[in-house]
């Protein structure tokens, strides 16, 4: 075998190994989706799963209505804080990207994304639950807002960064003040990307258990009072999955399926919107 044949063969073999390893990487995704779907579907197919609240083991008809509403309220309140702050912060990073402190804010956001989410839970527990002397949905929202903030900042920055400079310059040339250019011209143009980022942050916050564990705490009773403890879908999955009772484990699988479907819809949808945004930005 000549040296060149050997080189070609080994290159092909390496490519084969790389394809194999990549296929290996996608196996867990398929397995997780398959098992969550097949084990969760029996629970989800009962309409009372979405109508009833959690019930103790042995009592049939348990559902996750309280947890769905709880996740909605807690993540909704967190979004009301994190999205405006994050969007303005992201605009700052994109519009003044060489500003003195911009690189520090950028670094802090990237580091905050990697901060342990359980630490956010302890933080919210210390500054809200301890002074109030009881668990509350508001404290969970604080932890979730800090979790969402860096995601919103960084996605807004990249969405605003996609807008061509010509739009900015034409606004300024018309004599618009900087804030109007940025909020009334650039932000609407970047809106799909910004909304996508916010939705991705919402998806991430909805799936997080650790920050909610000792803030929202969980509550088997249907509750919409944000000053009291409240359930969330990830909490149901975490607590019920670890019980030895078959019916509660079923509820956990059902709740996991609801979570996965929500997260997948948001992610696939946002990828589609983002691709359109990039194409549109190219036409501007």
């Amino acid at each position: 075998m000549t040296r060149n044949t050997w080189r070609r063969l080994s290159s092909g073999a390496a490519l084969g190994v790389i394809y194999t390893l990549t296929a290996l990487a996608l196996i867990p995704l398929g397995l997780v989706l398959w098992f969550v779907a097949s084990k969760g579907l029996p629970s989800v197919l009962h309409p009372e799963f979405f109508i009833n609240s959690e019930r103790p083991t042995g009592i049939p008809g348990g559902g996750v209505a309280n947890a769905i509403v709880g996740t909605g309220i807690m993540v909704g309140m967190a979004s009301m804080a994190a999205v405006p702050i994050g969007v303005l912060g992201g605009i700052y990073l994109a519009e003044y990207r060489v500003a003195r402190w911009a690189s520090w804010v950028r670094l802090a956001s990237d580091v905050l994304v990697g901060a342990p989410s359980i630490a956010l839970g302890i933080f919210a527990y210390t500054v809200m639950v301890v002074p109030q002397r009881h668990f509350s949905a508001v404290s969970a929202s604080l932890a979730l807002a800090i979790l969402m903030l860096p995601v919103v900042i960084r996605t807004t920055e990249s969405a605003v960064g996609l807008i061509p400079n010509g739009l900015r310059e034409s606004g300024l040339a018309l004599g618009l003040p900087r804030w109007r250019v940025s909020l009334q011209l650039i932000l609407p143009a970047a809106a799909p990307g910004v909304i996508t980022g916010a939705l991705l942050a919402v998806a991430r916050a909805s799936g997080e258990t650790a920050p909610v564990l000792f803030t929202g705490f969980g509550n088997p009773i249907f509750s919409v009072d944000p000053t009291h403890s409240m359930s969330a879908l990830p909490l149901v999955v975490f607590r019920d999955a670890l019980t030895p009772y078959n019916d509660l484990q079923q509820v956990a699988w059902g709740a996991a399926l609801v979570l996965v479907v929500m997260v997948l819809v948001i992610n696939l949808g946002s990828r589609w919107v983002l691709r359109r945004q990039i194409r549109l930005a190219g036409q501007l």
Binding site: R7, R8, S10, S11, A14, L15, I18, T22, L24, A25, L26, P28, L31, V32, F35, V36, I85, G86, L88, G89, V98, A99, W101, A102, S103, A108, V111, L112, G114, A115, P116, I118, A119, L120, I122, F123, Y125, I146, L149, R168, L172, R178, S182, A203, S206, G207, T209, A210, L213, F214, F217, P234, V237, F238, A241, L242, Q249, A256, V263, L268
Partner: protein
Amino acid sequence: MAAALDSAASAPDPIPTPPDRYRAFIAFVSWAAPASLILIVAVLIQEAFPAIRKFGLGFLLGTAWNPVTLQFGALPAIFGTVVTSAIAIAIALPVGIAVAILLAEPGAVGIRGALGTGIELLAAIPSVVYGIWALYVLAPWTLLHLEAPISEHLGFIGFLGGPPRQTSLFTASLVLAIMILPTLSAVSRDVIRAVPRGLRESTVALGATWWETVWRVILPAARAGIFGATMLAVGRALAETIAVTMVIGNRFEIPHSVFFPAYTLASVIANEFTEATGDLYPAALIELGLVLILVTLTTNVLALVLVRSGQARVTI
């Protein structure tokens, strides 16, 4: 430094305007991110203070965890955290780099798009969903098909000894490996893509095969950035809480074998925090959180600096 130079070089010329209040306002708002980071660390230090004062540095080296006698040492949890992350990265690294090489490769857009979507979805699945899947599907399978045969044949090597359990250090490491893979491959892909085209083209022009180009030219050029991506993934592994809590077995001791139950910093907090009473017990748990956040923050800062310097160096 390099990152600042890079963005200065690529940024458009700033349009001269008088200093405006809008800029000051959004600059102030953007400080919410650094401020919350500083505030979190400050609050954790303050709340952990009773334990820091009582145990000093001995906290990090102590092996006892007894809420009744108020003896608290973090070593078993630190051990579990470090070892699970190390095994996870050892498993995920070859796979993650392979995915990154494929994703960064020019051409083959269709497959690459689907592959990229798949890897991103892997990142999007909530931790607790990995947890329930690992507890009911992965752990029993691992016990039967990996742990039992390995410990049977290689059990004479101390850390592979049996009898293996379903919830163990090894199972937790496997889940972690799956969970950090997207971070590893996405960041490595960006770093590999930042390698200048000319480098690839000139190597191919010299007659190198595809693999020779990748292995001898592209990967070495992206080395610093790939190292950064690896550290970023390590940071994710260290910080991961819920999925690990569900499968590591929650046993506060340094295990003799990777097939035995163990504990990590984050899972001790997740399991015990709501039940901790008194002053010292919660403080000790918060000190575990403090150790965790300081280690992950350091890892992340170093990793990001490496990734950015890698990208900046090769783009200049």
